[in-house]
């Protein structure tokens, strides 16, 4: 759909080479390219604007003449700034407590149920936990069955109450059950909900208040467009979640929503989903995400070569 951003940056910097320093005027075109790349990657309009302003400040007055490859210097500024924005403090998952309780949240179809299975699998095999999966989605057809199938695949028990339509009570009972049967980690799957659905947002807030989870994760589809910021903001206003999970990154989306969400709610992206299988989970790598948003392969190695 568009040529590689680094090619475009390189081209616009040919002009800069003769001019010695980056100035407000000569950098304008380049910034436009950067902004376009961000918008094509679904970075939120306002976020993209703020970001290019920041890059401009960093770039202004930089000495182009002494740089070996000035175009790559600009690429580096943009890339580093992105990575810094999306990275920051260490963001491990909090699984202290007995049992530690993790609550999933997010829009319909974002990947909550699948991710619940992946997380249980990972914490079981890598951290020696004994998880209990909880079927807190009482609405979607076969939601309980889906979680049961996943639980079976990874050898993790699933707590469900077929005839109970109250997820708050189910969640409470499940924690009780975990205590009784020595499960030290409880992962609660919930129904997908829209941020504008007040009743459903009330429901998940009630679940939170009733069980006081160690960790609330907001699960978001990496293909989400401009509205990602509003959704994230409303879920965060309601739940004050601890971290974000970015799913379906095995696709070819640029995933600009990651940047938007990070800059709007300032919560760390903790995990990414990279496939439908239950081992397709990874911790979040800000550097890789920066490359991806800019659509330029591995910039780090590119810049190191310079």
């Amino acid at each position: 759909m568009f040529e590689n951003l680094s090619d475009r940056l390189e081209r616009s910097f040919k002009i800069l080479k003769g001019q010695g320093k980056i100035t407000e005027i000569n950098v304008a075109e380049t910034l436009k390219d950067v902004r376009r790349a961000l918008l094509d990657a679904d970075v939120n309009y306002k976020t993209a604007k703020e970001f290019t302003e920041k890059v401009k400040e960093k770039a202004l007055g930089q000495d182009v003449l002494n740089a070996v490859k000035p175009e790559q210097m600009m690429v580096k500024i943009v890339h580093d700034e992105l990575a810094i924005l999306m990275g920051g403090t260490a963001s491990d998952i909090n699984i202290k407590g007995n049992p530690a309780v993790i609550l999933m949240s997010g829009l319909q179809g974002s990947g909550k149920t699948t991710f619940s299975g992946k997380l249980a699998n990972m914490l079981k095999s890598k951290r020696g936990k004994s998880p209990l999966l909880v079927a807190g989605d009482v609405y979607r057809p076969a939601a309980i069955e889906q979680l049961k199938v996943l639980g079976e695949q990874i050898g993790v028990p699933v707590y469900s109450e077929e005839d109970n339509k109250n997820p708050v009570k189910i969640a409470k009972n499940a924690i009780q059950y975990a205590r009784q049967y020595g499960r030290d980690l409880v992962i609660i799957d919930t129904a997908g909900r829209l941020a504008i659905d007040q009743q459903m947002m009330d429901e998940i807030e009630s679940i939170k208040n009733a069980i006081n989870p160690q960790e609330i994760l907001f699960v978001v589809d990496a293909m989400t467009g401009q509205d990602a910021v509003n959704t994230a903001k409303e879920f965060n206003d309601r739940l004050n979640f601890n971290g974000v999970v970015l799913t379906k990154l095995d696709g070819d989306t640029r995933g600009g929503a990651a940047l938007s969400i990070r800059s709007v709610v300032d919560k760390p992206i903790k995990f990414v989903g990279t496939g439908e299988k239950l081992d397709a989970i990874d911790v979040f790598h800000p550097e890789r995400m920066a490359d991806r948003i800019l659509g330029m392969g591995d910039v780090v190695t590119l810049v190191e070569k310079a």
Partner: protein
């Protein structure tokens, strides 16, 4: 109409305090369009047309902007769309009328099939469903529950069986029972996975062995909150299955459906239906005029 924040209210805010369409207003308009996932290319196209109009008419007031925009958007939708389908009907001369449903993971394929079956049945047609998603956990059960809800038979095999074989069975059964419509569910797949896309082509081709020209319709389901990746989805699924129509789901969310505009502008595939919720009734035939009205908050 449930499409939430309308274009209109946003445009009204964008032009507040302005009487004339100038660069400021156009910048604000750009923000409104891009923020609705229309996409940069289509946005620029709309803005250029308005600029041309401003250049020609010298003075264009902001009160005229709405009607100009409405014209441009209607034109954009009309340009690429054949006539709207009138209701939940199918071509009567093809029996069974075979519909195959495709799309990336979690967009709402299975739910849309349940809703469609409901509408067709309401209109007096007999419907069969084929559970050709044999991969995702409990996908067959999910479609089965929809089948029970609506009261239509679901043709299925066990998990992990060959989806093309399920599709073959479903179309055969529908034909044997003289059904009017058969709708085939498929597993969600990302369009950059070559093997899975090839599998889809295979599922599609097998149906033609029972009913010539089948599938008569291939519906690509797009999630209304998807951003620019929707374009790549449309492109790749069309390459694999010759998509004949689009369904945009989850438009009951805050999404403003801007993706409909972008897609209509860039592809020649008509939007057939829109999804507006999780219940059986929450599917509507896409009508351009109503859609444009809803964008402008009427």
């Amino acid at each position: 109409e449930k499409t939430k924040v309308s274009f209109f209210s946003k445009i009204t805010r964008a032009v507040a305090g302005k009487s004339k369409v100038d660069d400021d207003v156009l910048d604000n308009l750009e923000e409104v369009l891009v923020s609705s996932d229309v996409g940069v290319d289509t946005t620029l196209k709309i803005i250029e047309r308005i600029e041309a109009r401003v250049a020609r008419d010298k003075y264009v007031g902001t009160d005229e902007l709405n009607s100009i925009l409405r014209d441009e958007i209607t034109f954009m939708l009309t340009e690429n769309q054949s006539t709207d389908v009138e209701d939940f009907t199918v071509a009567g001369d093809k029996k069974p009328y075979v519909i195959m449903v495709v799309g990336v993971n979690g967009v709402g394929k299975t739910t849309t099939i349940g809703k469609l079956a409901y509408q067709f049945k309401q209109n007096g047609m007999s419907v069969y469903l084929g559970a050709a998603d044999t991969f995702r956990a409990a996908a067959v059960e999910q479609l089965d529950i929809w089948g029970q809800r609506v009261g239509v038979p679901v043709v299925k095999q066990k998990m992990g069986s060959d989806p093309a074989s399920v599709a073959f069975d479903a179309v055969s059964s529908a034909k044997a029972h003289n059904a009017d419509v058969v709708i085939i569910d498929t597993a969600g797949r990302l369009h950059n996975k070559v093997n899975l896309m090839n599998e889809l082509t295979k599922i599609k081709n097998v149906m033609g062995k029972i009913v010539p020209d089948a599938p008569h319709e291939v519906l690509l389901i797009l999630d209304g909150s998807t951003g620019q990746n929707a374009f790549e989805q449309a492109k790749q699924f069309t390459a694999a299955t010759e998509v004949t129509g689009l369904v945009i789901t989850k438009l009951d969310g805050t999404a403003k459906g801007g993706v409909v505009l972008g897609i209509s502008d860039q592809f020649k595939i008509p939007v057939r239906y829109i999804g507006l919720g999780e219940q059986m009734e929450d599917l509507q035939v896409f009508r351009r005029k109503e859609f444009v009205d809803s964008l402008f908050g009427e």
